[in-house]
Amino acid sequence: MANARDLIHGNLSEVPAPMALSALNNRWGLATAVDFGSDLDVLNYALTLEYLEAAFYQQGNSANLLSGDEKRYLATIQKDEETHVAALTDTIKKLGGKPVAAPGVDFGTSFDNRDNYLKTSHTFENVGVGAYLGAAGFIKDKAILQAAAGIFGVEARHAALVGNLLDLPAEGGVYMGAFEKPVAKDKVLAQVAPFLTQMKGSWPTGGVNTGGGSTASSQGADNTGLLVGGAALVGAAGAAALMARRRASDGADS
């Protein structure tokens, strides 16, 4: 990513983050300054964040910094994020929208060692928790709300567990108080901006691996999204069962 140069504008990653973001946000679905105009806007916002997280764990887990339980936990987190990407993408398509492309990413020194990896993970997960809670109030479709809430809860699990792996203080590190706190979009974007770089071709790892080699057929069966069968309500339970099946199919490598 460090050589992601544009001959006219130079290295975009050297542009102050807010400027870089405003230059790129049309492409990444981060355009509106304050608000979400539709469920699709929220979904594309969530998709951008999930793309970031999925790429983060793909790179981080490839760096072989972990072992034992930690390695297994982070492998599962990666699969969760990849599943979220796939589910959000399919849902956006089913609603007639256009999924945003995966952003270019540069995680800097995050993968230099275990501590850096887990600390950045902890930040991402807590930002994700706040982002979902901050956006939930804009969601109008209750099936989408159910699914978004279900993803939100899983991000909270990730955040707590990684906080504990880091041996952070229980309160303020593992838990963030008795209530989760919503984070507005502009604050979320400010936190993730340092990791976004100029888009350079396709998704860095050549596509989101949702595992099991069954992605294409699953999509053909129209059951990978947050919604199944058009507008029918699938609910988190059904989605969870589906996704658990998907995950079980590639559980052999964890």
């Binding site: 589910a87 109008k140 504990n164 203080p169 229980a170 838990y175």
Partner: protein, 217 residues
């Protein structure tokens, strides 16, 4: 293996009055699957605003859901208070469980305030008794705590589409996320899976009651 039943189905809950018990058991019937959802577009407010929620925005369905949540939070708060008092934990485990106990107490008072703010009457705290030996070992304490947390997470997520008020929804979500954190940590401490699915599962009030009913004496 009966590990999927809290206390293996032994009695835990006992209500002060027959009326409280009936109220609890009737909850499922009071909240129909056809409840209208009108939260769309509502801007969620901070949880601290819960008690300030306008009474006019509350509905009968939301009140029933809040009292259902209150009963479950009472159970969790009591469970952790008694468990910590038993002194079977130490070190990092004690550090991790102590805030959970505080959270559940805070949830009880927040949900109580919310019921009042919406013009309802909070359910009274059930009498809760535990099987002998429940808190004799860290294993028993943590194992049942893990089950309570997973049940609580699914109970909250099962109400998401049934809640009418954006304020109630925001508060319930803010609590549910914390329960998810608890569930993950308890799973880790008990060597079970902290991430059982990529999306939280749901249980309807009926299903949660089916789980809890055998525990009510």
């Amino acid at each position: 293996m009966t590990a999927d039943r809290i206390f293996e189905g032994k009695p835990v809950l006992e209500f002060d009055t027959g009326s409280s018990r009936r109220k609890f058991l009737k909850m499922a019937g009071l909240v129909g699957v056809g409840a209208t959802f009108v939260a769309g577009g509502a801007v969620l407010t901070a949880p601290t605003a819960m008690a300030d929620a306008k009474m006019a925005t509350g509905t009968k369905g939301d009140l029933d859901i809040l009292n259902y949540a209150l009963t479950l939070e009472y159970l969790e708060a009591d469970y952790y208070a008694k468990g910590l008092a038993a002194g079977v934990l130490s070190g990092r485990e004690l550090e991790l469980i102590t805030p959970i106990s505080d959270h559940e107490k805070t949830h009880v008072s927040a949900v109580t305030d919310a019921v009042k703010a919406f013009g309802g009457t909070p359910v009274s705290k059930p009498k809760i008794t535990y099987p002998a030996g429940a808190f004799d070992t860290r294993e028993s304490f943590l194992k049942n705590a893990a089950m309570f947390e997973e049940l609580g997470v699914k109970a909250y997520h099962g109400q998401v589409t049934l809640i009418s008020s954006g304020d109630v929804l925001a508060s319930a979500a803010a609590i549910a996320g914390v329960e998810s954190r608890h569930a993950a940590i308890l799973a880790q401490l008990t060597a079970t899976n902290p991430f059982p699915a990529p999306v939280e599962g749901t249980l309807s009030m009926d299903q949660v009651l089916a789980e809890v009913k055998p525990l009510i004496s």
